[in-house]
Symmetry: D3
Subunit: 176 residues, 6 copies
Amino acid sequence: MNRGLIIGRFQPFHLGHLAAIKFALRSIEELIIAIGSAEKSHEIRNPFTAGERIEMVKNSLDVSKGIDVRKILIIPVPDTNVHYLWTYQLDAMVPKYKMVFTNDPFTSMFFREKGTNVIEPPLHRREVLFATGIRSRIAENREWKALVTPQTVEVIEDIHGILRIKAIHARSTVHA
Amino acid sequence: MNRGLIIGRFQPFHLGHLAAIKFALRSIEELIIAIGSAEKSHEIRNPFTAGERIEMVKNSLDVSKGIDVRKILIIPVPDTNVHYLWTYQLDAMVPKYKMVFTNDPFTSMFFREKGTNVIEPPLHRREVLFATGIRSRIAENREWKALVTPQTVEVIEDIHGILRIKAIHARSTVHA
Amino acid sequence: MNRGLIIGRFQPFHLGHLAAIKFALRSIEELIIAIGSAEKSHEIRNPFTAGERIEMVKNSLDVSKGIDVRKILIIPVPDTNVHYLWTYQLDAMVPKYKMVFTNDPFTSMFFREKGTNVIEPPLHRREVLFATGIRSRIAENREWKALVTPQTVEVIEDIHGILRIKAIHARSTVHA
Amino acid sequence: MNRGLIIGRFQPFHLGHLAAIKFALRSIEELIIAIGSAEKSHEIRNPFTAGERIEMVKNSLDVSKGIDVRKILIIPVPDTNVHYLWTYQLDAMVPKYKMVFTNDPFTSMFFREKGTNVIEPPLHRREVLFATGIRSRIAENREWKALVTPQTVEVIEDIHGILRIKAIHARSTVHA
Amino acid sequence: MNRGLIIGRFQPFHLGHLAAIKFALRSIEELIIAIGSAEKSHEIRNPFTAGERIEMVKNSLDVSKGIDVRKILIIPVPDTNVHYLWTYQLDAMVPKYKMVFTNDPFTSMFFREKGTNVIEPPLHRREVLFATGIRSRIAENREWKALVTPQTVEVIEDIHGILRIKAIHARSTVHA
Amino acid sequence: MNRGLIIGRFQPFHLGHLAAIKFALRSIEELIIAIGSAEKSHEIRNPFTAGERIEMVKNSLDVSKGIDVRKILIIPVPDTNVHYLWTYQLDAMVPKYKMVFTNDPFTSMFFREKGTNVIEPPLHRREVLFATGIRSRIAENREWKALVTPQTVEVIEDIHGILRIKAIHARSTVHA
């Protein structure tokens, strides 16, 4: 089957991720969405658990026009202590795939060293649609809701995610 | 949402698992299928990788009458070194759920100690539909294909799974 | 300071353990009680968590005549994946000690290879005072309460420990 | 029992910690002192082993007026790779407790997400009584002994801790 | 370069291993000797540390006629928790190789699934030259020295290895 | 035997390392070269795998005048999560040694706390012969080849190591 793989941490899932998924679905039959750093949560770069991120992605795709969720698998993938082993661990956790969609040069490097076909989705409104910026906006009470899906907003509010992000940022400041 | 969780290792996915999934879907809106011992493969009790098992489950459900795969999430969950932490690790990996479907008394114990509602699906042709028996049948060249879905057969053949099970059994005999 | 170390898993804490602690206290000023396999629980050989075992030991010693609990430290120590490192990991987790009390030949071997003084406490009613036997008695509804302290009975009942031991044994039988 | 839990890394144990322990003992019957990051030592933020820190705490409390050490348990608790699991791992390592004493907003967050009662002890001379500052004072040959107990001084001198802190700081400078 | 890889646990290094190494050296320019389960020691199937095993192999080869130790690398390789990742972890630990020498059907399976060329060295006096048998002979005071090299005997005696094997076997009997 | 141990990460192996090895060989009969942080690769401070580094060292020594590679063992040693355990883990992985050659004050500290004899090799052209500087030179297209052996250059080119270092640096910049 012509299956593809897209990799992200989705901290949180935003409109740039949604655009990349739509881009990928144009050239493949089935798409695996790998939720990276799945074991991480409650830290500055990774505030949300894998379960919370899966819910953001699933709920957003369920209502997206032009996306058939029956063609999608959402799979959490933990980090490996040994970087070199990450793509091999991934291969044990997901069905076989033919190409990888990613914009991260480091991730690309590993797949290219293995000989896997890597495609870079076009970046969509990159100046605002990046997760680090969105987390800062949440921590600093700046506008962020228009940058993510309504389903992502709903999950974050439901788990008191704004309070969590502020508590994590407070600690970092204390330790700095 | 009225979401449920069913837990199995699916080594391999068989008709008893399919019946249990259909049973669970009768009383809930959305079902998480947790693939247990996800990090294990290539050993007697766990010959198949999580990726291979996900493919068995997904392909089987895709063509099952009366199952809407849009209401299903398939999530691999690794074991924890510390038994006590397993259900908590699970909670970090999956969206929130209201009840658990399992026939394993040990798994039930953990959820009941936590106060989670546990439902035991009725066992379907238990004398033949159990994975240990099916793996033995494969190793010993006895009939097994009628006990699983055609999609499971296809995945096992595609990955040369019969040879793998025989190689694992050969080793066990040598070490005994 | 003339400090000693006694090692056990205390699954559960019984009258033989109590006698060994009293024996050790006769020749030292302060005693470290190391709770071994601290990370393990909910399995046949290790049904109780470290926290539950600490409570059994502490509550039993608090009311024991002739024991001054101010001279005692109770420290949980996890297993190491690498056997060779266990005594070194232990040394990082406890204050310095001058001698070790143990009846296990394997544990003795490690300390003797390191040059530590090992003393074997006399075994007290060994034919009934051993934890494996006590766990079997609990699983099989045979008499066990007279073999442990009243405080151990109280902790086990408080945590529904009899049910837990039976659930763990049930599972083992299923898998055999 | 009305048992409480106080959490710290105690790198090293200082007069602020002692004041917080006395504060906690006013409202509870028994106190668990959890030594956090127990597996860490010989690094900038964690120079001392858990065993060394236990000795600082125990020796200091043994001679403190108004503290009954029979009401105290000192338990080392390692970090978890997965933040989300830390409080659950803790629960497996210590007897049951009813409230938590901590001033760390991040630690509070986890307990509050679980529904545990969190109390913030009043900070005592916060401008000097914080461990990062005390470690810097030691590394830079500034006055520090009046900020900790005489027993902490004794342990640090006994293990050549001043040399150790300087060696660790030397390395950090080299790598910067 | 025409480099080969031979895999063993060498518990202990015996004359069968020596014959297999000589066999491999006939068809390659350089040989990597991978010491498997390198992190294990002091247990029934793995009594010796990697360091002790390296010493057995190195000392034996140093004096073997017809072996040029300049063409040999001896590399300890730990087990992986995840079987599937073992050959990939190995690849990160050793220089590139073109073929693998092993008689273990399970090890062969992994390399064959990856497409690596596997050669089975002829077994030499298999009825006595197998490590499990040699360890039993040591534990039971039967003749074993003629089955290994004089250098292996010397290392085992130097580390009091006979006592160690007996202590490990004693424990197993106690637990049985 | 009068065996010594030299420790380095060799990221990459350069002329300063070669001089230190020659220095060590003057006072000992056999030298163990421990490749530290063996499990790490593909990151800023550790771009190369242990296998790649072993190849750099072995190929360089094979052609070095005055070095007898039969007196040398090259052993990869992973980091430990627990710093305190590192030297003990090392002892399990290598044959017994009588002295350690290192210039790192932190590494020295651990061996000195254990009572091991530590010798600091004289630093050779320290202002250019340090691995961090050589990695920066590679990333920034500055001259670096004269600072390492021709064999190191050959290995780095063979594995496309320059591209790898640039990809790793690109990522770091993105995340900063």
